[in-house]
């Protein structure tokens, strides 16, 4: 079989339910490019996605925001399609429906959806884009303006100052590894040399994965992949990163830009676990996240009892863990009704105290019942069923997990979750939440702030 030639790893998972055979294959090219194929013949379309482990996570202060700018530059021409006009014309000739790219904290991704008879053209198209972008000075100068507009717009949004303050407080040494949009001045002065540095280091096959899904013949797709991507040269790939330090003390952030009058958003954010450093705890954190969000569970009911000023009872309480390679966080979010007279500070203090007590209680044997554990596991299985409804949606999901964890992480996810016990959840709680310092963020309306003086008190507290 020719396919064996390409394959370092071959895994087939057949899902028996659907009438359109749904199967996931995983391959590894010699140059390190991972390839995922998902066959689904429901509609005559193919989605091709290519994802890099890049984004803010690989940036330095001098490069902050440039992975996003590079994402734009990839559409601006390459050795085959010399400029933006030619690039877009090629998309049109393939009959592309949707196409786009996106930059996040831990990945950069590009995708197109095309008629299934154009899959080889689509693979060739992306190969030129990722292997030989022109990165011309003229296109750079033009695109800097577009990205400037985009980021300036984001910086005008009312929650920007809150997000920025939280970023700097939680990750004081490497805050820029969490800032996708970056610095307007760095964007305005970006050079071709800087973009080439990004290309040569991070836009390499051993730091990338290709996802092809839909109405495909896997064998012929793999032949086209080898033909178009087999000669792509390896590069340094994902860098060694110094880890973010754990929080050493409790910190506070307060901003008065919220448009919501009479309501304040209060979040408590704990650091960890980071998927790269402590993979095992991330599964338990997910399970915990499902249980703690039970609308009628102990956590929400106890919190509401302790703080009746919570807006909407238990409705707007949420908690959970966000999986990230090196900046995972577990957080609790509440919406508090702002009293007409001064008094919000006292409510927040009570909320904080109640939360600490509740986290301590979570270690108890009966806090989460066996039924709750089983229900949470079933919910995680359900999410998997839903994520597989469309081949492209499934691959988008897989792409996220590939970037922030690993292929095996995702493929073994449900089996690992099934084996978890309450001891695993308790270990996660002990390691990351119980008696650990955390960040308190408060987002309040300007008019409410005039009466409550929260921002001022937080500033005093931080000093």
């Amino acid at each position: 079989m020719r396919i064996k030639k390409y394959t370092g790893l071959l895994l087939l998972i057949f899902l028996s339910y659907t009438s359109n055979l749904s199967a996931l294959e995983s391959h590894l090219l010699k140059n390190g490019l991972e390839v995922f194929l998902e066959e689904n013949h429901l509609v005559p379309l193919v989605n091709i996605r290519i994802t890099f482990r890049a984004g803010a996570i690989v940036e330095t202060p001098e490069l902050n925001g440039l992975c996003h700018l590079y994402e734009h530059l990839l559409f601006m021409g390459n050795s085959r399609y010399r400029n933006q006009g030619q690039f877009k014309a090629a998309l049109k000739r393939m009959g592309v429906g949707s196409w786009n790219g996106g930059t996040s904290t831990e990945f950069v991704t590009y995708y197109i959806t095309i008629p299934s008879d154009r899959v080889e053209d689509g693979l060739e198209f992306w190969a030129y884009a990722v292997k030989s972008p022109l990165l011309s000075e003229d296109e750079l100068v033009n695109e800097r303006k577009v990205v400037h507009n985009e980021i300036a717009g984001k910086q005008s949004e009312p929650d920007y100052s809150l997000k920025n303050a939280v970023r700097h407080a939680l990750y004081p040494d490497y805050w820029y590894r969490r800032d996708v949009g970056g610095d307007l001045e760095i964007i305005d002065t970006a050079t071709v040399a800087k973009l080439k540095f990004i290309k040569n280091n991070f836009y390499v096959p051993n730091n990338a994965a290709l996802f092809v899904s839909g109405d495909i013949d896997p064998d012929s797709v793999m032949q086209a992949v080898e033909k178009n991507y087999g000669d792509w040269e390896r590069g340094p790939g994902f860098p060694e990163l110094p880890p973010h330090k754990p929080l050493e003390k409790e910190i506070w952030v307060a901003v008065d830009t919220s448009p919501s009058k009479g309501l304040a958003s209060v979040r408590f954010i704990f650091r960890g676990p980071d998927a790269a450093a402590d993979t095992a705890s991330t599964y338990a954190a997910d399970l915990w996240g499902q249980m703690v969000n039970d609308p009628d569970g102990k956590f929400k009911n106890n919190m509401y009892r302790a703080v009746p000023e919570l807006h909407g009872g238990t409705r707007h309480i949420s908690a959970g863990y966000f999986t990230q390679r090196d900046a995972g966080s577990s957080s609790f979010a509440f919406t508090v009704t702002v009293p007409e007279e001064e008094g919000l500070w006292e409510i927040i203090t009570r909320l904080k105290k109640a939360l600490k007590k509740e986290i301590f209680l979570m270690k108890g044997k009966d806090y989460f019942t066996a039924e709750a554990v089983q229900s949470a596991k079933t919910e995680l299985e359900n999410h998997d069923i839903l994520s597989r409804e469309t081949a492209a949606g499934f691959m988008s999901n897989l792409s996220f997990w590939w970037a922030s964890t690993s292929t095996q992480y995702y493929l073994n996810y449900l089996e690992t979750v099934k084996k978890l016990t309450m001891d695993d959840v308790h270990a996660f709680l002990e390691k990351y939440l119980v008696d650990k310092p955390f960040l308190t963020s408060i987002w309040i309306n300007e008019d409410d702030e005039k009466i409550q003086g929260i921002v001022k008190r937080v500033k005093e507290k931080q000093q």
């Binding site: 005559p44 009959g95 695109e143 303006k145 507009n149 985009e150 009312p158 009628d296 359900n382 492209a392």
Partner: protein, 480 residues
């Protein structure tokens, strides 16, 4: 020599296109035939029509209940009434407390949603096969026996007011609001534009009365997509919905929009924006979805979008995104939007220039970089590619049971034929280049457009000085 090469290439492209269209036409016919076999229709004992599409490609099951009427049912001074009603209705019922509802939805990973559209409200269930019985019972009880508690009413009102305040901090939401207030003026769609004042006008009694009058059998149609057993589904639906009172039927009637009313440019100064970031939008009335030229207009709109992107973004780097959209509403209208631009005045002029290019019978060349680098080509030479792109998007929208049920609902509302969406590709394929060009001229270029710009006050001052270059008059509004 170069020219001959190009002609050869063109010939190859066109041949491939013709073959593809032929093959596409055959497969489209079988696509329609195969799909038609999967529909089942029946009526409940109180007359509610039900359409079921058997779809076994996924484990999800979806229901979409359409309630006819839309914004025409809501007095402008109580804008938000339909939104509050649907939000409150699906929070708590006689049998299910709010907490119990949320618990079931979480444990089954299901969702019950609703949307108050311009022409109709829809109320939806999306669930996984194994949970259908449990979640359907919840979905049905919320619809038939909502409890509308006072406490949840107050909370929902607070949330909706804050959503409005939040919209006022978003540049694109502001430009849409500024524009729609003028464009929808005097039209039933005006009730779409709620604000703090209109929400304060709504009482819990208003909501209960609105529910009693409008959530009635004669205004409802139910669409289902998934792996259903028809007989048991019918029994279940009859038990749950068969006793909903008849009420009085109602259908939104298309009405004319007021147009620019002498002020084709609305200016919205917003001090919290950075000076280099503005938002531009235009609205204009267009032909209804049932009009013979409708699909030509849709293709025309997509060609104008690409010319604008080429001219404004690619060549002038003046905007993050720019697009044209035909909404497909009963009183139909279209819009052109420029999202985050550093030069709103020039963008308006470039949009007009883009429309002129399409009106002259040209589209962005799909042949750039393949032997001929002409920027624009006659529409006839590019049309096939636009049709293929349309097909790609069309099939993309047929992959989930939820989206299939919504397409059936939308087809039914506009054409009284829930299978109409299956024939969209045939209608697109029948459109000629001449029809597209005519649609650009008649329905886009010659339309009475109302423009709006949201920008920093300094930028607005500049626009006031310069407006005569692109708008006969302007009006500054103060959004609150």
């Amino acid at each position: 020599m170069k020219e001959r090469k190009f002609v050869m290439k063109m010939a190859v492209y066109v041949s491939v296109l013709i073959l593809a269209l032929f093959a596409g036409s055959c497969s489209r016919n079988s696509f329609v035939k195969e799909n038609l076999k999967t529909f089942h229709e029946f009526r409940l004992k109180n007359g509610i029509p039900v359409v079921v599409k058997i779809a076994r490609h996924s484990r999800t099951k979806s229901l979409v209940l359409v309630i006819n009427g839309g914004k025409a049912l809501v007095p402008a001074e109580k804008a938000g009434l339909d939104k509050l009603t649907q939000q409150l209705m699906r929070m708590e019922s006689k049998k299910y407390s709010d907490v119990k509802r949320r618990t079931i939805l979480k444990k089954t990973s299901s969702s019950i949603g609703a949307s108050d559209g311009l022409d109709y409200t829809h109320y939806n269930l999306k669930t996984i096969d194994k949970y259908f019985n449990e979640t359907f019972d919840l979905y049905a009880d919320l619809l038939v026996n909502p409890s509308f508690p006072e406490k949840l009413f107050r909370e929902t009102v607070t949330n909706l007011k804050n959503r409005y305040r939040s919209d006022l901090t978003d540049g694109y939401a502001r430009v849409s609001l500024a524009l729609n207030r003028s464009f929808f003026s005097g039209h039933p769609y005006c009730s779409y534009l709620f604000n703090v004042e209109t929400i304060d006008n709504i009482t819990l009694e208003d909501i209960k009365a609105f529910y009693r009058e409008n959530y009635v059998a004669s205004r409802m149609t139910l669409f289902a997509a998934g792996d259903f057993e028809i007989h048991s589904l019918k029994n279940r639906l009859d038990d749950a919905f068969g006793s909903i009172p008849q009420g009085t039927g109602f259908d939104a009637v298309p009405q004319k929009f007021a147009g620019s009313q002498g002020a084709p440019l609305i200016l919205d100064p917003y001090a919290d924006l950075k000076k280099e970031t503005s938002y531009v939008r235009a609205n204009f009335e267009v032909i209804p979805v049932t009009h013979k030229d409708y699909w030509a207009l849709v293709l025309a709109s997509s060609m104008v979008s690409e010319i604008m992107t080429d001219l404004i973004r690619t060549k002038n780097s003046m905007v993050y995104s720019v697009w044209s959209n035909v909404f497909g509403k009963r009183s139909n209208y279209a819009s052109i939007s420029a999202y985050r631009t550093n030069n709103p005045e020039k963008v308006v002029n470039l949009i007009k220039e883009s429309i002129d290019i399409a009106a002259a019978g040209k589209c962005v060349s799909p042949y750039r970089g393949s032997g001929n680098n002409d920027e624009y080509v006659p529409i006839a030479e590019g049309l096939g590619f636009y049709k293929t792109s349309f097909a790609t998007n069309f099939y993309t929208g047929l992959q989930t049971n939820a989206s299939i049920a919504m397409k059936m609902a939308d087809s039914y509302i506009h054409f009284r034929d829930y299978t109409n969406y299956l024939r969209v590709m045939s209608k697109i394929q029948a459109v000629s280049a001449e029809e597209v060009q005519r649609a650009v001229v008649r329905y886009i270029k010659n339309s009475d457009k109302v423009w709006a710009i949201t920008a920093h006050p300094d930028t607005v001052e500049q626009i006031k000085k310069d407006h005569k270059a692109y708008a006969s008059s302007y009006r500054v509004i103060n959004l609150r």
